[in-house]
């Protein structure tokens, strides 16, 4: 991930008008903290306004992860550990990215934290925007942003062994926590708005961050209960909204879909969104939709399955076949219940087996030539 741990930019304050397109190749996934707030803001701005989007779109990689600068108050008072909240935005919509954010501060500086945090969906847009501004300009709050573009989500969910949205959410949260820890920040308590079953999510986090001394509080509606979560919720929601408002179509130079941006909220239930999907289905056969659409969402899948408008080909994804029966709730995965055994608790037996399994697989050439391993030598007659 961190191909370049060095910051390509130094002394940005003397170069306020740095060309953001230069930054991208080095920094989109770099989990290293930014050197200062102005760089953070500059990079965030270019990320959200998509001027940093690589072309063609990031089909194979995962979306950007940005860690802000670490405020001096946190750095200088690291003993106590920060409180950190995590929340997401854009889980349900069929359009656009899902954004994951973390916000953290030292509990001692609670007084300087803006008031009025709540679930970002319950805040008025004006209030939310102003809180976002306050977080960005705060000298006490640090934050992390992980953007999962629609293309990344589609690709993961439509894999043969699907990597589902819950697992992606969990991994995004883990990635952000690591980024903060790796920046040398101690975390005292971590508040997370749960995704899936809170208990198993907590257990998983405790396992991953064993020995780091973090207390995990994973709850439903945590964004309405804990200020760091609310702050994260604001960052996530504002980021998603900004990305969507400034979306640059990646399909081709000057590409503009039908009805342009008349997609409403992006939720599949919104009539505007439905109309937009309908009018953009298979306009460019065989691509289906612009990559702003989550192909793995039922409305998008169904639209394509029906032959998609006038002339589209019928697309069948193998991975879909297993998911046909969506009645009676969403199928959960075993992954969130089982624990991968660590070497210590495997015991001697397990360790040897594990070593055996780590052996490199036989090269195909041996099989092709019909060579097999010999364990006994027999003298030629």
């Amino acid at each position: 991930m961190a191909e370049d741990p060095q910051h390509p930019i130094e002394g940005t304050e003397t170069h306020p008008s740095i060309d953001p397109s230069v930054l991208l190749p080095f920094n989109t996934r770099s989990p290293a903290p930014q050197p200062d707030r102005s760089t953070t803001k500059l990079l965030l701005d270019s990320l959200l306004k998509n001027s940093l989007r690589p072309e063609p779109c990031d089909v194979f990689g995962s979306g950007p992860l940005l860690l802000s600068d670490i405020p001096a108050v946190i750095r200088n008072n690291n003993e106590r550990g920060v409180i950190l909240g995590i929340d997401e935005a854009g889980r349900g919509p069929v359009l656009g990215p899902m954004t994951y954010a973390a916000a953290f501060w030292n509990p001692d500086s609670a007084d300087s934290i803006p008031r009025g945090f709540n679930d970002s969906k319950q805040l008025t847009p004006e209030k939310r925007a102003s809180l976002f501004e306050q977080i960005l300009s705060s000298e006490t709050i640090g934050f992390v942003l992980r953007i999962l573009h629609a293309s990344e989500i589609s690709r993961n969910m439509l894999r043969r062994a699907p990597y589902n949205l819950n697992a992606m959410s969990h991994d995004a949260a883990i990635e952000m926590i690591w980024a903060v820890l790796n920046a040398g920040v101690r975390i005292d308590t971590c508040y997370i708005d749960t995704v899936g079953i809170a208990d198993s999510y907590t257990r998983m986090l405790e396992r991953v961050f064993e020995g780091k001394g973090i207390t995990f509080i994973v709850e439903k509606k945590a964004d309405a209960k804990y200020a760091p979560c609310s702050a994260a919720s604001v960052v996530a929601k504002e980021s998603r909204d900004t990305i969507i408002a400034n979306w640059k179509w990646t399909e081709a130079h000057n590409y503009e879909p039908k009805n342009s941006r008349e997609f409403g909220s992006g939720y599949p239930g919104d009539p505007k969104c439905k109309a937009w999907l309908d009018s953009n289905c298979n306009i460019d056969v065989p691509f289906g939709f612009p990559d702003f659409v989550r192909f793995s969402w039922a409305p998008a899948k169904n639209a394509l399955k029906d032959g998609g408008g006038e002339s589209g080909p019928v697309i069948r994804w193998d991975a879909d076949e297993d998911e046909e029966d969506e009645s009676g709730g969403k199928q959960s995965s075993m992954d969130s219940f089982v624990v991968s055994k660590t070497v210590e608790d495997m015991g001697r037996k397990g360790r040897i087996l594990e070593e055996l399994r780590r052996k490199k697989p036989r090269l195909d050439i041996f099989n092709e030539l019909g060579l097999s391993k010999v364990t006994k030598f027999v003298e030629a007659p």
């Binding site: 198993s200 257990r203 009676g328 959960s332 075993m334 040897i352 399994r357």
Partner: protein, 260 residues
């Protein structure tokens, strides 16, 4: 060197039958006291765990732990060549890349041996956290198979609810709905016909019938099945194999997602 001889060869035959529809590839892990298999299905919705302890074999020798990766379909094809009364012996060299299977007829008048190419399967060893299950239901495996078969006629999703009245299996689909209620029955003459329900608190879980149907392929391995359930965790469907082994299936429930 690994060598295991099973007079009741059909147990191994049925075991592979019981997992080959669920998993394509798996490792047989052998140690000095046990032969075990653990694998997840492709979509990571179900997990199967098999254990046959060395005491269940007539002869069991395993000099050092060994992991034998096999393709379940191919293993099944070879086992089709074994008669139901045959004695099956499994053999593998420590560094070999094949598994030898020897089938002896009961009268020792026919001995067939086969070799199955092994493969390197990259699979993580998974631990299943100990759970105190709120409901444990023991019932005849044939009865469970029948319920699953009947329910599949009506839909894809089965709700199992365990209350003090008994265990209710419910399905609803396009053509209608169906319910089967199984009550506690301690009075049956044979132990294996008894239905025993141990419930600390009521539990209701929903599952994809498709997988439960795969599980009932193990019915021939034993007369009883034990279902263990707790809220929001996978159900365990266990078929004890004699005194010395088991095949356990774990199935992740379907959950109501509160969309936000």
């Amino acid at each position: 060197m690994f060598e295991a001889r099973l007079t009741q060869g059909k147990v191994f035959k049925q075991l592979i039958e019981a997992l080959k529809d669920l998993v394509q590839e798996a490792n047989i892990d052998c140690s000095d006291d046990e032969m075990s298999i653990q694998a997840m299905d492709n979509s990571h919705v179900a997990l199967v765990a098999v254990s046959l302890r060395s005491g269940g074999f007539d002869h069991f020798r395993c000099d050092r732990p060994i992991s034998l990766g096999f393709n379940a379909t191919n293993m099944g094809k070879i086992l089709k060549c074994a008669g139901n009364d045959d004695i099956i012996t499994l053999k593998a060299e420590d560094d070999g890349d094949s598994l030898a299977l020897v089938f002896e007829s009961p009268g020792q008048d026919r001995i067939a041996d086969f070799e199955l190419k092994l493969m390197d399967i990259d699979s993580e060893q998974l631990g299943i956290p100990d759970t105190e299950y709120k409901c444990t239901i023991q019932m005849p495996s044939g009865e469970f198979q029948r319920i699953i078969r009947d329910m599949q006629v009506l839909g894809d999703t089965l709700t199992i609810s365990c209350t003090k009245e008994g265990v209710k299996f419910h399905v609803a689909g396009d053509l209608g709905a169906g319910n089967v209620l199984i009550r506690q029955n301690n009075t049956a003459e044979k132990d294996e016909d008894k239905v025993m329900i141990d419930m600390q608190e009521p539990v209701e879980l929903t599952f994809a019938l498709r997988y439960l149907n795969f599980f009932t392929k193990a019915t021939s391995l034993g007369p009883t099945v034990i279902l263990s359930m707790s809220p929001e965790v996978p159900v365990v469907v266990e078929y004890p194999i004699g005194e010395t082994g088991y095949i356990k299936y774990y199935l992740a429930p379907k959950i109501d997602e509160d969309e936000d």
